[in-house]
Symmetry: C2
Subunit: 224 residues, 2 copies
């Protein structure tokens, strides 16, 4: 193998991975900011969150282009090939996490205009879990840590359970007093957005397991 | 270029695309079936929908493996390369559309156990739009029809407007009579799942535009 090309591929792969890490950091910041807005009952981060969404969109395209260039010019195989294809899937997951953070800000906008419905406990807990899942899934991608990827998939059950708990509790509010309906519904939708963020982190973790455990594509078992 | 390889690549690309078409047909059937359950107020398709979800999961993995094998063994470039990478993104979108159809069946399960809340008009309309968007986005991928892809993205605005309309209407039901809350909420969630199905079709359409209009990755404009 040509040593120069190998080094160049390694360098370009590292750049690609660093861009994903950058996307994940932005996505995590957006999750934090939107939930701080909800807890503090203001919309202080609105301009920042909107700029961060633009950054995610731009990075997503850059990663796709860089991955395609790498595939076309370096002919990577085996785990390098899998990592590059995974990068073009993971960038989409991170971009959508940003979209969901934006969705949460719409619900926050509804909520801050009315008195608080109840102290928030489960939703900040869901937020922290979802944020950690995003962080861990990217960490697992960078290090190939299958156990960490599995822990992300397990954490998703906890987020789902919290989502169901939020729904049950807020349903009783709505049924007891229709004046709470709009706020309760906004909080239910926030919990759904957080659940979807956790789903995207789970998708990333599944991709990591698939990449790391994948058979060598140069030697497929099925004849063709 | 080696003519034998070119032909082999074309054949394998056609197989890959046919698998995506197969996935899309299954996803569309699932959307139809779940909404028929909602309208007919029964759960007749439950076993079928569950089997179809398994089929989607299996096809998603097959497409990923086949795409990786193609990338490793045929070194495709330009539009072939883009089509293969797009296939590994689109299979994920279709698999998630199947997941959302499953989510709808959970809400249908809640709804059929109680008397109907209201005649359904907007939700069947959303369903038909979402199903058509899935069909059109795949058609656009197969034919490279940019105009069709753009029409999918435009249709998404219509689905979003219907989603908002469903929310507003059902909010008034819940606020007027708390006994309607559980059913109204289930219908709101169905509309959200349909909106997300439309989002996935929109993602596919955006991928199609990106593939077709992408610069030649063998000749990137940015120096590296």
């Amino acid at each position: 193998m040509d040593t120069h090309h190998e080094t160049q591929l390694d360098k370009e792969l590292r750049e690609l991975k660093n861009k994903l890490i950058h996307m994940a950091a932005i996505a995590e910041a957006m999750i934090d900011q939107t939930i701080k807005e909800l807890v503090n009952r203001n919309e202080q981060y609105a301009p920042e969150v909107s700029k961060e969404e633009d950054d995610l969109n731009r990075l997503q395209i850059e990663i796709d282009e860089q991955a395609l260039t790498l595939l076309a010019t370096r002919q990577p195989v085996a785990s390098d090939l899998r990592a590059i294809v995974a990068a073009t899937k993971i960038n989409g997951e991170l971009e959508r996490i940003g979209d969901l953070a934006i969705n949460i800000t719409y619900n926050v906008h509804t909520l801050v205009q009315q008195p608080p419905l109840k102290p928030l406990i489960d939703i900040p807990r869901m937020t922290e879990l979802a944020r950690k899942m995003v962080n861990d899934s990217l960490q697992a991608f960078m290090t190939g840590d299958i156990e960490l990827a599995r822990s992300v998939i397990l954490a998703d059950d906890e987020v789902d359970a919290l989502k169901d708990q939020v729904l049950r509790e807020l349903l009783t509010y709505m049924m007891a007093d229709p004046r709470t309906t709009e706020r309760a519904l906004a909080l239910i939708l926030v919990s759904r957005h957080l659940e979807r963020i956790a789903d995207h982190a789970t998708n990333i973790a599944e991709d990591v397991i698939y990449i790391t455990q994948g058979r060598d594509v140069r030697h497929p078992k099925t004849p063709r």
